[in-house]
Amino acid sequence: MEAKRRELVPLALLWGAGIATLVILIVILAYILANGLPVIPGTF
């Protein structure tokens, strides 16, 4: 039980790293799409 509790923090950090990467990607893609897509119909 003690060993499992000790594991919790590093495993949570690894989950955090994975989710942080996903969030970075989503923010960049969302920013590009949100700013770029509305302009396309009027420009082209």
């Binding site: 594991e7 590093p10 950090l13 960049i28």
Partner: protein, 276 residues
């Protein structure tokens, strides 16, 4: 036919290298060590050899690269371990293509994002112009993440299954297995991924050009502007003539030397094998 393809690509690389050395080496020899250690870069006022000093640009390149790698490595390696060992299949199905998509975004788009989001945020939070070493770190660390994550994930997955099963059979927990068996066994691939990420960071031009400020001075804080070898070459090559142009090619040789050293380290690291 295949041999011809191989020979032609080697020839193309050889010709490019020869061209850069032919253009830059005479200047590098003529300028001597002051080219590398002098701090004054005034290419349009070239009466003295001391005005061709690229020391601040070399320092800028190294600071920007090492900072980005220092931020990107822990996150990248942790994400690679997560993807290889912990992530449930549905999460992996989303994250792996996402990381690949991150690798496919052109650097000018990252630069655009940095210029419009990161630079104003730094300006608002910390003052100054916003275009700074810190902005370059943030953009470059995002750019090197896919390199570190994909190569590290592959090398962790390439660790023989028996290592993991043996460790778990001995009573080690999941984290103990990751920390003491899988990561050490995959360390050569992980180190190679970090060095290749470093190569990408030092060679990156457009994104850094847009967010670093391009000031040829040694930055006194992380919120001060700086310049890198690649950005300086890109900025000035359009109008450079004569000795100025040769100096830029000489900077290209310095950059080439950095990349070759890094690639050499990556090769050495990837040859290292840990056996149990």
């Amino acid at each position: 036919m295949l041999l011809l393809c191989g020979i032609s690509s080697v020839c193309a690389i050889f010709l490019i290298i020869t061209f850069i050395f032919a253009e830059g080496l005479p200047f590098l020899i003529q300028a001597g060590p002051s080219f590398l250690i002098s701090s004054v870069w005034r290419p349009t006022d070239s009466f003295s050899a001391g005005l061709w000093g690229i020391f601040p640009i070399i320092v800028g390149s190294l600071i920007v690269t090492l900072g980005a790698v220092a931020i990107g490595t822990p996150l990248g390696v942790a994400c690679a371990v997560f993807l290889a060992e912990i992530a449930p299949a549905p999460v992996r199905r989303v994250l792996v293509p996402s990381v690949n998509a991150l690798a496919g975004v052109p650097s000018v788009v990252y630069g655009f994002f940095g210029l419009l989001v990161i630079v104003p945020w730094i300006r608002g939070q910390f003052g100054g112009f916003g275009t700074s070493v810190f902005a370059a770190w943030l953009i470059l660390f995002i750019m090197i993440l896919p390199t570190i994550i994909s190569i590290s994930t592959d090398s962790i997955r390439a660790v023989p299954r028996e290592y993991k099963e043996g460790s778990l059979a001995m009573g080690a927990t999941r984290w103990q297995t990751i920390r003491s068996v899988l990561v050490p066994a995959a360390s050569s691939g992980i180190i190679a991924s970090v060095i290749l990420g470093m190569g990408r960071a030092i060679g990156e031009t457009m994104a850094v050009l847009m967010v670093a400020g391009n000031s040829v001075t040694i930055p006194d804080s992380i919120f001060a502007p700086t310049s890198t070898l690649t950005a300086q070459i890109a900025l000035e090559m359009g109008y450079a003539t004569g000795a100025h142009r040769e100096a830029l090619f000489a900077m290209g040789i310095v950059l080439f030397a950095f990349i070759m050293i890094l690639t050499g380290f990556a090769n050495l690291a990837s040859r290292r094998r840990i056996t149990y």
